[in-house]
């Protein structure tokens, strides 16, 4: 009657346990590897840049003297860029996600849109740069303005936000819909008052992570030609601008060695910004991700 030979299973047990422990160690090492790399990177940047990081660095414009070089125009430029990119990409992204998840019937057209978004998510940022240059800068004659840069960045991160929002919306349980409909709520009321609030943490996390991608992007802005030296702050969306990664890129290509350190100081500022944004995302996620 015994098909399962207990002797075999006993004998195998040891082997399985060894495998399990080996697996644990390997997986742990892999995780640690990533962290060590991050740490190495940070240590290098910190040791190089900390000496040039002072208040003046944050409040001065760029300069030919490394000691006087400041990051102000780039920081403010990045903020301006985000001020355009964030609302546009979030509104469009969440809107698209709502359409696809809540309204779209299973039609060919909607499948096409869905496919299209997945594809856009994989299009290299430099191609978006070409698009921005041709369409926004040239065709729409926006010039190398904040608005042109912001729109380009919005399109770049749009698919990321759509996908994250779709996930978040999909995670809202069917029961929530039913409960709301059963109260006589209309579809839009249900979406606005029940579904969106429930999906909000996921949407916000996705959006913040997407924006932190945008804030570190260099290539597309190089393409549309963000300005490098600018000794004033942008006043409106038509102003020229520079952003942190562009300024960093510029400093790294200077002949004077000190500028490498200035660049490192810039990287520190950018990283701090990223860490702040990520922390907000994590806070939101932890605060709201009580599993229902």
């Amino acid at each position: 009657m015994n098909l399962v030979d207990k002797n075999i299973t006993k004998a195998k047990m040891k082997q399985r346990l060894v495998k399990n422990n080996t697996g644990r160690v390997l997986f742990f090492l892999a995780t640690v590897f990533g962290i060590i790399v991050l740490f190495t990177l940070l240590v290098r940047v910190l040791t190089e840049g900390i000496g040039f990081l002072d208040l003046g660095f944050l409040t001065e414009f760029a300069s030919r003297f490394p000691e006087q070089a400041g990051f102000k125009a780039a920081i403010v430029g990045s903020f301006w860029l985000m001020a355009i990119t964030a609302p546009i990409s979030i509104i469009l992204g969440v809107g698209t996600a709502i359409y696809l998840e809540e309204y779209a019937k299973k039609s060919r057209f909607n499948r096409f849109i869905q496919m299209n978004i997945s594809n856009l998510a994989g299009v290299p940022s430099i191609v978006f740069g070409l698009l921005g240059l041709t369409v926004f800068v040239r065709l729409m004659e926006m010039g190398r303005s904040i608005i042109a840069g912001g729109l380009t960045m919005s399109l770049l991160i749009l698919p990321i936000i759509v996908v994250a929002s779709q996930e978040a919306l999909r995670a809202v349980s069917k029961e929530q819909y039913e409960a709301s409909y059963a109260m006589g709520a209309t579809k839009w009321q249900t979406i606005r008052r029940v579904i969106l609030p429930a999906a909000l943490p996921g949407i916000l996390t996705g959006s913040i992570l997407a924006l932190s991608r945008a804030i570190g992007e260099t290539a597309p802005l190089l393409m549309i030609g963000a300005i490098t030296f600018i000794a004033y702050l942008p006043e409106n969306i038509w102003s020229g601008f520079t952003v942190m990664p562009i300024q960093i890129f510029n400093w790294t290509s200077r002949p004077q060695e000190e500028f490498q350190f200035v660049a490192a100081a810039g990287i520190i500022v950018l990283l701090v910004m990223l860490i702040v944004m990520n922390s907000i995302a994590v806070l939101i996620r932890n605060k709201f991700s009580k599993r229902f």
Partner: protein
């Protein structure tokens, strides 16, 4: 967009950028109401924007090309070319390289061109060690490369095994890192890394081996590897006071600024002439 407002838009060569940045920095400090921006799009990219009417002044590390001239003509844009400063393309080798004392243009050509049969130093000159040379060159789309190509390679392609990079700092690293490395780049990059590099005197047309420095470049003794840097100024834009004033300021200070960032100033008279010229154009 350009009229009435106090805006000066400059773009173009990355080589010229540090000079113009220095000028703009000083100028903005003195005239905080004028908004001067300096972009880096490369010489070609700068002209592209110049042609599209997006900029007032275009920085260039090479003279304008025929195609670009034609496009400007088509658009009816009038402009003038000005020299801004001098750069001495510096040929460098590793600090430990104690055999290379000088090189001729012919030798450079023999070493760098695509058809080159040079593999080791011994192939360049008898008596030099039989060790394989490593070549470092600016990217093939830069003004520096263009100039070297024209003067040394004379239109031939560069050898395939040369390591190319758009970033001159990376080239510095390359040559400092390999004992048998040789490379070339702008004078400023040599100046900043003097201690780690050995510069190679180049034999000029008079047969003298000349090392690049302020004096030899300015006087023209360091040839043919010293090259002028340019700015192109749009006539229409000079009617705008801000642009005019900025341009004038540029020529008044270019020499000083160029040297501050590692280039070589032109003789003073050339700047004077330039100021004269823009006065004429602007009708002042």
């Amino acid at each position: 967009q350009s009229d009435g407002s106090k805006k000066v838009m400059v773009d173009g060569s990355s080589t010229v950028f540090p000079i113009m940045e220095a000028v703009a920095e000083e100028y903005s400090a003195a005239n905080p109401d004028v908004r001067a921006t300096i972009g880096v799009s490369g010489t070609g990219g700068g002209f592209e924007k110049f042609i599209a009417g997006e900029t007032h002044i275009s920085n260039a590390s090479r003279p304008i090309k025929e195609e670009e001239k034609k496009l400007l003509e088509e658009k009816g844009i009038e402009y003038t070319e000005f020299k801004l400063a001098l750069d001495g393309l510096s040929v460098v080798v590793n600090k430990e390289n104690d055999w290379v004392d000088q090189l001729t243009i012919e030798e450079l050509n023999k070493m760098w061109s695509e058809s080159s049969e040079v593999e080791t130093w011994a192939d360049v000159r008898e008596g030099w060690p039989e060790e394989e040379i490593k070549f470092f060159s600016p990217g093939s789309d830069s003004g520096t490369f263009d100039y070297f190509d024209e003067v040394v390679l004379q239109g031939e392609q560069i050898r395939r095994d040369a390591a190319l990079s758009e970033d001159d700092n990376v080239l510095v690293q390359g040559v400092t890192g390999s004992k048998n490395g040789i490379g070339y780049f702008g004078y400023a990059y040599y100046l900043e890394n003097k201690d780690e590099l050995k510069v190679v005197p180049i034999v000029n047309s008079k047969g003298e081996a000349v090392e690049p420095n302020q004096e030899t470049i300015q006087s023209g003794k360091y040839e043919p590897l010293s090259r002028p840097l340019f700015i192109y100024v749009k006539h229409e834009a000079l009617k705008n006071d801000a642009v005019y004033d900025f341009t004038k300021y540029t020529f008044e200070n270019a020499g000083k600024m160029a040297e501050a960032v590692g280039y070589v100033a032109l003789p003073d008279s050339e700047y004077k002439d330039a100021i004269q010229k823009i006065k004429e154009i602007a009708g002042k």
